[in-house]
Symmetry: C2
Subunit: 474 residues, 2 copies
């Protein structure tokens, strides 16, 4: 029997590692001069990348060159300091090193017994999160791939606790500014679409507690089972923070599970400025936090905290004979008993390593800086003729429109966004608010500082001026 | 405003990368002489690792040393060539490089428009999987964190298609050897526990089609809605492959969604020997495959294929205003429309890179080798007095017991497993079959070759002999 070898020689591994490190450090060094987005002819380029299953191998250097020079550049440059679109996804270098270390050592971290020390580093991270949010020691958390699955496990924990098997009458309440993933995961958890109540917001796009109370009363009267109340600690559209304490009062009064989607905004709670804005966060039953947003780690890191950790466990535990060999000591826990997953990557290290390396203080200061930059830019928008901000920013999103003297406002702003993005000097994205086209700036990259924000404002201002002079385009 | 900096200097990044590469290559070089598991005093060690949130930073070299020398060794050595426990999770070095490259470049791959070329590499991988499984071009797939979430999206797609919102009477059928994650994710998807039918198996632990037909008929008569039929292409307990074609006949006859959990066994379909065993795989509506099992990539890679890809999309699509800026060309797709996730890590690269680097042929040969090694070891067990294999291995799991002349068989085998594991020369795990304690050997590491299997057999044989001489322990 022929023995095949997928193990490389030490020399080959060292060489591959060295080449990869050089390539990505070059990539980071060259970020400032790289286009902010490059999607020209992407459909054609992508078509040329289709290929049949490769029977034979290819040398590493060619594949690395191909990836870094032919694949990566065809994209929105999300790690760029001038990437202010959607919600920036960070990309701390030490997290990438952590992914590398975790994948090579390849321990099984889905259960405590197989790699208890590695599991403990993950538990440390989750315990820090719980403390930062003002949760008690009863809290338990999980690290997920992102906010969607974190929201999912929140819905499932509440559903199990408050509805049992009778889920068809369970009702979920959220403002109409809630991230669509909350509704999506509710459907995935078996909550019918007709049971979702998306409620009107105030002029700053924050939830109106009265609307929640009215809706809950009405549903109760109709024999439905209100069970899940969503608060937002930073909406995606405008960064709005709902009145978290008032929503807590209502959830308590009517016996609903109070879930806060703080995927984007929650980590601002570690700085003083943010803590004031997020008052009431600690009164929730569960919180979603995305380390790939507020802690700047690369895409692939969400988390869920549940105040009464046992309720999270009851919704997810199911064990098997082939896992019979081991037990878990008091105070430690098996991630798989609290989450939908069993085998999965070692997610804890990509959060643990940068927190340990830089210390929490550096993150606190960086987040405070983001709030400051937002205030600075917001002030500029207020002072600049023609611009309107559609809401007072609670955190680090500014949603704005330019009002041209003539022509359709929506059309003008669509053209303005297109002009900005095509310049490749700045990346922004858009949304619809009350049916109107609005441009968004979201300041959350650890690479974005005062100079980038000043430049971004100049680009926006000058692009609007130019577009006015051009009379808009047909 | 103070500007904090979480960006490292190029020199620091190069140095960190170099140190990390050296450390893990050393780790791999030293694997053969490392303990196969080391869990002595793990509870105490882990307790000492608890610490409060670190306000200040620590230098990288100290953290790297701590991780590689204090954290990783306290574990079951899952990447070791003599790790034959549970189902080995591989750990190909190029996949770790891919994780590193993906995390630094940090593109958003949840939607096509943001990084279309990167998304295409993922789509290539999924199209290769579909071809390997004999699926048509209508198939679509997703890469997940592991088998559990892949099974979840299979259940959700079937539920949406066949039950709509009326899920309380939907019934799921599976053999009692089915992985517990299938039941777990069905609960998460809102299927009540009372609606799960776990059916008896034959003497080789394979599903009995007649049992399925009887159960379906009975449920239909009682007004229930049979909707989901699970076949196993390699159970975790014994590696049993259900009669896949006969189950397909039943699913077709009664209009059920036919889902095959091939998380462990599916990739054996790329080698001739495996293809024969897995006949009927292509008749399913959905298949779960774990690249972190049969393709040897590190933990964190599962996948789901759905034959009629549009049904997967319908169960997962829900979009939002802030994603309005872009469209997807024909033949390309947004992962987030087919999966519960939106933001997530760039999963495709860790599968794409090793397949391109080594070529599929190397994987085909390595998988054929695993089947051969299993046959070789099974033959040795048959020839060795005292040993009984509880089933004929279909793939690469051997489940065995030693029958001592006197004393309790279960107790003896528990002690035998403990003796083997404590020797730190070999790692095996156990299960319960028909209530009896059984030891398992699972041969699926790319690092396991003939010498490791010969040594493993000698360790098992000699440990049993010694234990007999010792008269078992009290």
């Amino acid at each position: 029997m022929k023995t095949t070898n997928l193990e490389l020689t030490p020399e080959a591994m060292l060489q591959m590692g060295e080449s990869a490190v050089k390539a990505v450090v070059d990539h980071i060094i060259n970020l400032p001069s790289a286009p902010r987005s490059n999607l020209e002819n992407s459909a054609e380029i992508v078509r040329s990348l289709r290929e049949p299953s490769p029977e034979k191998g290819t040398d590493f250097e060619s594949l690395l060159y191909f990836f870094m020079n032919k694949v990566i550049p065809v994209s929105i440059n999300t790690p760029h300091p001038a990437y202010l679109g959607y919600i920036p996804g960070g990309g701390l270098y030490p997290s990438a090193i952590a992914d590398f270390l975790g994948a090579v050592t390849n321990r099984f971290t889905g259960a405590w017994f197989a790699a208890p020390a590695a599991a403990r580093l993950e538990a440390n991270v989750l315990e820090w999160f719980a403390q930062w949010m003002g949760y008690p020691e009863s809290a338990r958390g999980i690290l997920t791939s992102g906010g969607s699955l974190a929201n999912f496990s929140g819905v499932v924990a509440a559903r199990k606790h408050l509805l049992g098997d009778d889920i068809s009458r369970g009702i979920l309440y959220a403002s109409n500014q809630t991230h669509h993933s909350v509704m999506k995961v509710a459907f995935l958890a078996g909550i019918p679409e007709r049971n979702i109540r998306l409620l009107d917001v105030d002029k700053n796009f924050r939830a109106i507690p009265d609307e929640f109370e009215k809706a809950i009363k009405k549903d109760k009267k109709n024999g439905m089972k209100p069970f899940f109340l969503v608060g937002n600690a930073g909406t995606t559209n405008t960064g709005a923070v709902d009145p978290l304490s008032e929503l807590a009062d209502i959830a308590t009064k009517y016996g609903l599970w109070y879930h806060i989607d703080a995927a984007y905004g929650g980590f601002f709670n570690i700085c003083e400025e943010g803590k004031k804005i997020l008052r009431g966060l600690e009164r929730s039953d569960s919180i979603v936090l995305d380390p790939h947003k507020g802690l700047f780690v690369p895409y692939g890191s969400g988390s869920l905290l549940v105040k009464d950790g046992e309720l999270l466990r009851r919704a997810h535990i199911l064990t098997a004979e082939y896992l019979q060999d081991h037990t878990t000591p008091e105070g430690e826990f098996n991630a798989s008993e609290y989450s939908p997953e069993l085998s999965r990557s070692y997610r804890g290290l990509r959060v643990w390593l940068p927190l340990k390396l830089f210390g929490v203080k550096a993150f606190r200061e960086n987040l405070a800086e983001k709030l400051h930059l937002t205030k600075w830019m917001y002030q500029r928008f207020l002072e600049e003729p023609g611009f309107e901000c559609v809401a007072v920013p609670d955190l680090s999103v500014i949603a704005f429109r330019y009002h041209p003297q003539k022509g359709n406002i929506d059309t003008f702003n669509r053209q303005l966004l297109e002009k900005i993005v095509k310049s490749q000097k700045l990346f922004l994205s858009s949304t619809l608010l009350d049916g109107e086209f609005v441009i968004r700036v979201c300041i959350l990259s650890f690479r974005t500082h005062q100079p980038e924000i000043e430049e971004a404002f100049e680009i926006i201002k000058n692009s609007a001026k130019k577009l006015v002079l051009e009379g808009g385009r047909s």
